[in-house]
Symmetry: C2
């Protein structure tokens, strides 16, 4: 299945790949803990509030929200639980499809994200964006978009042919 010859990473590739992985790990941890200690909100919960706050009528279907948050559907169900208990989100049966549920941001949830956003943005800037000048930010965005595009294509085609059914 794999070729016998492996193309190992050269120094430049290895450096880029490892730096990329490490930056991500550290960024996630730091942004999460800043948010937790300042607002009692995990980064995962914050992410949910962000997407809802940007949605029409502060409303999104569970599945869409799950996809936006890069989380499984069951994962999202449980992520919402704590936000619902805290009164920041409510869940309503979707009128046009009674299988579905809409997650809706409440006034309380909107308040919360307004208060928490400065902390988060400060972190994103301090640990990430402000370490680069404007051109570099743009350049970085273009560079990461390339592998991202590849992966998004891959995901879509994989979804369409989940398993190759031979001889059927």
């Amino acid at each position: 299945m794999n070729d016998s010859k492996v193309r190992w990473l050269n120094a430049s590739e290895s450096n880029t790949w490892r730096s990329f992985l490490r930056l991500n790990a550290l960024l996630g941890v730091k942004l999460d803990s800043d948010l937790i200690s300042n607002h009692g909100l995990t980064l995962a919960e914050y992410e949910v509030l962000v997407h809802l706050s940007e949605a029409v009528d502060y409303t999104l279907r569970m599945s869409s929200l799950a996809e936006l948050c890069n989380v499984s559907r069951s994962g999202l169900t449980r992520r919402l639980d704590s936000l619902i208990r805290a009164g920041m989100v409510v869940k309503k049966t979707c009128p046009s499809d009674r299988r579905g549920m809409n997650a809706v941001l409440t006034a309380k949830g909107l308040d919360k994200i307004r208060v928490a956003a400065p902390t988060h943005l400060l972190g994103v800037r301090e640990y990430f964006l402000d370490q680069l000048d404007d051109d570099e930010v743009k350049e970085l965005g273009e560079l990461v978009s390339k592998p991202l595009k590849r992966l998004l294509d891959k995901v879509m085609t994989d979804d369409q042919s989940p398993e190759p059914c031979f001889g059927e």
Copy 2:
């Protein structure tokens, strides 16, 4: 604590930041599932094997290995458990400091990573490196190194002053 005025992200910043986050999420999921389905090895376990395979005498102290893997010490203890059960790693008391433990890669573990590496590298290339030319890989490495450096400094200084003890 936060300034009242927030500098929201402009289009370029937002695009870069979100693409960065999403690429990471997708890369992790894809590389993990490729490794699991082809070799019954999680990406986290693979990571452990990689670091041990590069270490002098295939040996690393638990703490060093934890840091290399971006995982807590307790997390590493448990990550090793499965690898030890599978006979790919053994743990030995460190002769020079009997508090410490050395994780050591076994012949079986070395075999395993030799077999699994091609799969992983193929993925890293296909979903990431091969989407960029050599100059872009280098450029990307330089760009991510800047925020990374900032975060590494930050982590170090934070460790040195864990909590500001006023009035003591």
